[in-house]
């Protein structure tokens, strides 16, 4: 969507900072937080946020963030001060970097990279490392257990996730997200690789530590897991980073399996991406109202005995489909 033309350096800056970059993503994330609370409230016969901002409490996330901003930053005496403060920022950096790699349309791409997929996988694999740094630096037993759980969880979903992405890459013959979307003109990959879509969806839930895989921050077991000692804006940054990652992964799902910006021309391409992303976000939020939490050993078992074989089967089926369709 080219609304107006800017000279090249300013246009890049506009893309990075405003659309489809930081500002738009943060606004979408604000909306997502509000939307999730409203959706859950509807499922649970509640009202949810109601007053802030006038319209059904739409500004509640802003109010919450402002509250966190004004709170004291508490660093525990025993904590490793530098890494304790650095961890949320690192986490935010990892999440925000993903925004550059997921385009909303061919013209709304910050980095049109030929190895975008590889970079996204690398960024996703780095995040549990930051989690364990946060858990270790907090010097708290619950944080430590939470960090270790996050690491265990990562070993169970990371490989199936990469394999499910690999199925799409094989079919599209490219690591570039723009060419992956363009190659779905005849059929979306969710139709050709439904198994891969399911595996990616479940692995993304696990990556985001969302219910039923919110094991590293299981509240009644280990308080808040690795986030236990974080308060104030540090906690706010962690939450924002998680939701930015959520947004980025939802866009990635849209582009890998739902044909990204492809759609009837009466709506501009980036709007198609956003609408499909919204749908994916909704589907990823629903389990939170439906399922209790898994146990970590069950998660590991699920990852290695269900997700991994499924993703391998998907890979083989994908090759078969490719041979038949030419």
């Amino acid at each position: 969507m080219v609304l107006f033309s800017l000279p090249e350096p300013f246009f890049t800056l506009f893309q990075i900072l405003i659309f489809p970059g930081l500002l738009f993503a943060l606004l979408f994330v604000m909306f997502m937080v509000w939307y999730e609370r409203k959706l859950l409230a509807k499922m649970q016969v509640r009202v949810g946020p109601l007053y802030a901002g006038g319209l059904e409490g739409i500004l509640q996330p802003v109010a919450d963030f402002a509250k966190l901003l004004f709170k004291e930053i508490i660093v525990p005496k025993q904590a490793d001060r530098m890494f304790f403060i650095l961890a949320p920022t690192l986490m935010m950096a990892l999440s925000v970097s993903m925004l550059a790699l997921v385009p909303l349309s061919p013209t709304n791409a910050i980095a049109n990279s030929n190895v975008a997929i590889l970079m996204i996988i690398a960024l996703l694999s780095l995040s549990p490392l930051v989690v364990i740094v946060a858990g270790w630096a907090s010097n708290n037993k619950y944080s430590m257990i939470g960090g270790l759980r996050a690491l265990h969880q990562m070993t169970s979903y990371a490989i199936p996730m990469s394999l499910s992405i690999l199925g799409v890459v094989l079919m599209a013959g490219s690591f570039n997200l723009i060419s992956i979307v363009e190659s779905q003109k005849s059929a979306w990959y969710i139709l050709l690789q439904p198994l891969g879509a399911i595996v990616f969806y479940l692995a993304a839930l696990a990556e985001l530590e969302r219910v039923p895989f919110d094991i590293p921050e299981a509240e009644t077991e280990i308080v808040m897991g690795w986030e236990t000692e974080y308060s104030g804006i540090n906690y706010g940054i962690i939450m924002t980073a998680t939701y930015v990652k959520f947004y980025a992964l939802a866009v990635l799902f849209t582009e890998l399996f739902l044909g990204g910006w492809l759609g009837p021309a009466f709506v501009p391409p980036p709007i198609w991406t956003i609408l499909k992303t919204f749908l994916v976000v909704t589907v990823m939020m629903i389990p939170r109202g439906v399922y209790p939490r898994f146990r970590i050993d069950q998660m590991l078992k699920f990852g290695w005995t269900t997700l991994l074989p499924l993703s391998l089967i998907n890979l083989v089926l994908g090759l078969v489909v490719m041979n038949f369709l030419g």
């Binding site: 499922m43 009644t220 439906v290 970590i296």
Partner: protein, 366 residues
């Protein structure tokens, strides 16, 4: 990390912990396995037994229901029965039926509360909200009869405090239908949820012989396949005139304890329906002096509260206050099961086992 070793870590779960309540659980974990679990009650001990020695028999009722506000009728039921035994008071038949009615409504409320908290213990926020909202239906009913939402002080020696209002039956029946309609929905989303079954099946197995040895009571005992219920074994008030089953499940794991409580709600609805149909007319309380002075002697009486047998032992020396009052509360009876069940299970099973016992710290500490 203390000691620099990760092989065995001691965690103090509570009293400041989202999954503990007013209670501490000292657990040692080796990796992810609990090697030792020591329950540490007493944080909300108020000396209720001693306080009861300085209050008159009627004044004791509000005191004794405070430890269990989610099931206040069930907790004073045993006391009222024992005072009646001590003072040889005859309870009119209508009062007996009203008491059964209110005790069963209270049981449904308490089990809904348990279900809601079990939801949050397992990270299921919808299950937390639904029963809490639906509980209000029963609370409103109770309020229309007994005046308050939770602490009723409704059962008194010799009957009940006031009669049920006219047309109460027409208000109760729709509420029962509503709860009956909701129970399958709870089962669909929670108790029969594949993830819930995975989390609870075979977890915290208490075999029937162990259950009897540990002396656990109530749904915990019945979840181990032991058919023991004070309402059937020693029928009091109108319980021998109503027809109901005592649900038992033989597996003895967290899942069967959950199923027992869900099934008990169904049985309670069944009892309430029968009581509403057969409640006789007459007095709702016997006349007796408001300051009771029972003769010398000791009595023991028990009633089946939502969490199990709530028993009272009262000794009187002919004064207007009890000489000694001993409470045997179900949560305290179930306390030994903590260490027994948690040893050898995973850390993540700690909340699962904890709340499958429906432990209420105030009730245990008294």
């Amino acid at each position: 990390m203390e000691g620099g070793s990760l092989s065995e870590v001691t965690l103090s779960i509570g009293p400041q912990h989202p999954g503990s309540g007013h209670f501490r659980l000292l657990i040692s974990i080796d990796g992810d396995t609990i090697t030792k679990a020591i329950p540490d009650p007493g944080y909300v001990h108020r000396g209720v037994e001693k306080q009861a020695e300085y209050r008159e028999y009627l004044q004791n009722i509000p005191l004794l229901e405070r430890p269990v506000i989610s099931d206040s009728n069930g907790s004073v039921y045993g006391y009222v029965l024992s005072v009646e035994k001590l003072a040889a008071l005859v309870v009119p038949e209508r009062a007996q039926y009203i008491r059964v009615l209110m005790a069963e409504l209270n049981r449904i409320m308490s089990h809904l509360y348990w279900l809601a908290i079990y939801g949050i213990f397992l990270g299921h926020s919808t299950m937390f909200m639904w029963p809490f909202g639906d509980r209000e239906v029963i609370i409103d009913l109770a309020q229309s009869v007994m005046g308050t939402r939770l602490t009723y002080s409704y059962f008194v020696p010799g009957g009940v405090r006031n009669d049920v209002p006219e047309g109460f039956k027409d208000k109760v029946l729709p509420a029962l239908e509503f709860i009956e309609k909701r129970l399958p929905e709870y089962e669909a989303i929670f108790v029969e949820n594949p993830v819930f079954v995975k989390r609870t099946k075979g977890v915290g197995v208490l075999r029937s012989e162990d259950a009897i040895k540990l002396g656990v009571v109530g749904p915990t005992l019945r979840g181990s396949g032991v058919n023991a219920d004070a309402r059937k074994d020693e029928p009091y008030d109108a319980y021998d005139k109503v027809d109901f089953d005592v649900p038992t499940f033989p597996e003895g794991d967290c899942l069967s304890r959950s199923k027992v409580r869900i099934e008990e709600m169904r049985q309670s609805i069944r009892i309430v329906r029968q009581v509403l149909d057969s409640i006789p007319q007459g007095a709702f309380r016997t006349k007796h002096p408001s300051i009771l002075k029972p003769p010398h002697g000791s009595v023991y009486a028990r009633a089946e509260a939502a969490r199990g047998t709530f028993a009272y032992f009262i000794t009187s020396k002919g004064d207007k206050t009890p000489y000694r009052l001993k409470i045997s509360s179900p949560s305290f009876r179930n306390l030994p099961a903590f260490g027994f069940l948690m040893k050898g299970s995973y850390l993540a099973d700690m909340p699962t086992i904890y709340w499958s016992l429906d432990y209420w710290p105030l009730e245990a500490d008294r």
